[in-house]
Structures are given as C-alpha cells and as structure tokens.
C-alpha cells in the first residue's frame, strides 16, 4: 500500500482560549486510498489529540462529517485524498457558528427541521386491525429520491441565500417537507404549507442551485424547492381567485 505525506491546514478554534479561529498546519503520513476523514483520524490518534470534529459511519450515511474542504462543503468521508493536490484546507461548515474546531452548532437547522414536521401525518387514521398503509411502487417513486436526505447540512453551507438571510428555512428542511407532502399516505400538507409557503420559507430561494451541486446523496433540493414554488403558486391562485375557499 502506497503511503505519502499529506499536508492539511485545519481551522482550529477553542472559544474559551482563542479570540479568533486560526489555521494549524499538519503533515500526516497517509495511505493512497484514504479520505480526508482518515487523515483527521490519523492526526487525532498520533499527532494532536486535541483536534475536534464530528464523524460516525465513515460511509456517507450518517451525515455527521460535513466540513469545508478547499472551500467546498463535502463529507470528509467521501473526499478522497488522491483527488487533491498540495495543502488541503479543512474548515467547519460555512454559515454555522463554530462550537469548537471543525464542530459547528447545528441548533438552527434542527429547529427548522422540527418546524416543517418531517414525519408522516396520516391522511386517514387506521387502527392496527386494519393493517398497514398500503403504497404502490409508483407512489413511492414520487418522493423516494427526496427521502435520501441524511441531514448533513452541506446544502446549508452551500446556499448563498441562507448565508444572507439566516431566517431562511433552507434547502433540506423544505425538501423534507416536500418529501412528506408527496407521500400518498400523508395528509399534513396544509400544516406544512403554513411554514414553507412563507417569505422566509420557499420564497427566500432564488434558485442558485448550489444545494443540489453539493448534495452527497443526489437528493436535488433545488428541484424540490422549484416544485414547492409551483405547487404553492397554484395554491395561491386557488385560495385567492376561486370562490368559496377562504383559507
């Protein structure tokens, strides 16, 4: 197995000690097939145990290890060292406050996620005796790729609108709301629309599309938001122009 020295500039910040974040340079012996996360683990194990970062699965499933790598939001378990040249710059996810080193405070995203009710709100209640909610493969395909979101927050780090307007609900939360709205078993769309069809919801999006470019699971949040805009526009005309509907 080939081994080579990889150089990393890692952003360090301990709010109890440092006034400002600063870069720390590391040289790490790495194997050819390693990813950036392996390099960070090697630093933590044998060079500098004080380095802090989040990770769990090492296989692009848990969504914990998102960070800015050479300025781009990436999962560090998915960023192969062989694809980089020279010094690799590693920073915490943009647009989130730093808790410590590469660990960010995700409270804002978690709060927004809760607000869009990203869970099944059954359209019809069924007793256990009546059995499960049946869904055909065609009904599943309508929302399936939107359900692949792993809440890694890379789309929030990439979104220029979220950077400008922190109140913006953001790509992942609206996409997940859309995922449940599209679910044939769900009846919660009206509740979610109250949150996402607002100025700080989907209408803050200007369709830059960076969210879909950085998404590691090909969820295409930008596509979801465009679909939400079309559906919300039809709602608006229905609510304001058709008689009898005063919602």
């Amino acid at each position: 197995m080939n081994e080579r020295m990889v150089q990393l500039d890692v952003l360090r910040y301990d709010p109890q000690v440092d006034d400002e974040p600063h870069f720390q340079h590391y040289e790490v012996p790495c194997k050819e097939e390693w990813v950036v996360l392996d390099a960070l683990n090697a630093i933590k194990e044998s060079i500098d145990p004080t380095l802090n970062y989040r990770w769990s699965c090492h296989m692009a499933v848990c969504g914990s290890c998102g960070m800015m790598i050479n300025g781009e939001p990436r999962l560090s378990c998915h960023a192969f060292l062989r694809d980089f040249e020279g010094v690799i710059r590693v920073e915490p996810l943009a647009n989130f406050p730093i808790e410590r080193d590469l660990v960010t405070v995700a409270d804002d995203f978690i709060d927004k996620l809760k607000r869009v009710k990203p869970y099944l709100i059954p359209g019809e209640t069924r007793s256990i005796d009546e059995g499960e909610y049946i869904q055909t493969p065609a009904q599943l395909m309508k929302y399936r790729h939107f359900s692949m979101c792993i809440n890694c927050m890379l789309c929030y780090a990439a979104c220029p609108q979220y950077a400008l307007q922190p109140l913006f609900l953001g790509p992942a939360a609206i996409t997940l709301a859309h995922r449940y709205n599209l679910d044939s078993r769900d009846g919660g769309r009206d509740e979610r629309q109250q949150v996402i069809a607002t100025n700080e919801g989907v209408w803050e999006c200007s369709f830059v599309g960076a969210c879909s470019e950085v998404c590691p699971k090909a969820v295409d949040p930008a596509g979801a938001l465009q679909q939400v805009k079309v559906a919300s526009t039809l709602d608006w005309f229905r609510e304001h122009l058709l008689p009898g509907d005063t919602k």
């Binding site: 400008l164 949150v195 200007s206 079309v230 919300s232």
Partner: protein
C-alpha cells in the same frame, strides 16, 4: 407566519422565463439579421404591421413583451438581493413599476395599430 404573496410575481417570472428561454434567442437572431439588412420577406414592414394589426397578433406581442418585462423585473430584484442590496421593498417597487409601465405602454401602442 402568514403565507407569502410572492406567487403573484413569481408566476409572471416563471411564465416569462419559460417563454424567454424558448423565444429570446430566436428573436435576437431575427432582429440582428433584420438590422443587418438581411430580413427575409416574412419580416418585412408590411408583413409585421399586418401581424401586429390582427387581434391575435396583438395578444401574442403583448404576452411576449409583458412576460419578458415581468421576468426581467423579478430577476433583477433577486439579483440585486444576491449582490447584497438590502432595500428589497424599494427595489421591488421600482422594478415592478417599470414592468407595469412597459405593460401599459404596450397595451396603449398595440391598440393604436
């Protein structure tokens, strides 16, 4: 939080964008050709005047001009926001006023043909 009223301008923006994507390149090419003196017979003054004089021709021209204007207005509003201009209300009033004026003038001139 109240639902947004942006669908009014966004629907015009989206419709205008779709139309612009389909028609704008062709129109630019045809007008360039005409400006360089290579106008095909179909684009002669008499032909175009007859087209604009017909009610359906008027409707088509108004649709194209107005939707292009509303698309451009909303695009400009969003672009200015993206560039960091934080005066959305003033910007919105100005750009939509221009689009509305353009629409009204189109109606005026088309009815005069």
């Amino acid at each position: 939080m109240a639902k947004s009223n942006k669908p009014i301008v966004w629907s015009l923006f989206a419709a205008g964008g779709t139309l612009a994507a389909l028609l704008a390149p062709v129109l630019v090419l045809l007008f360039l050709l005409a400006a360089l003196g290579h106008a095909p017979g179909l684009l002669s003054y008499a032909q175009l005047h007859a087209f604009a004089a017909h009610p359906l021709g008027k409707l088509f021209l108004l649709t194209v001009i107005a939707l292009f204007l509303w698309h451009a207005a909303h695009r400009l509003r969003v672009a200015l926001h993206d560039f960091g201009l934080r005066q959305d209300r003033i910007v919105a009033v100005i750009v939509y006023l221009v689009a509305a004026t353009g629409t009204a003038l189109s109606v005026l001139y088309l009815t005069r043909i």
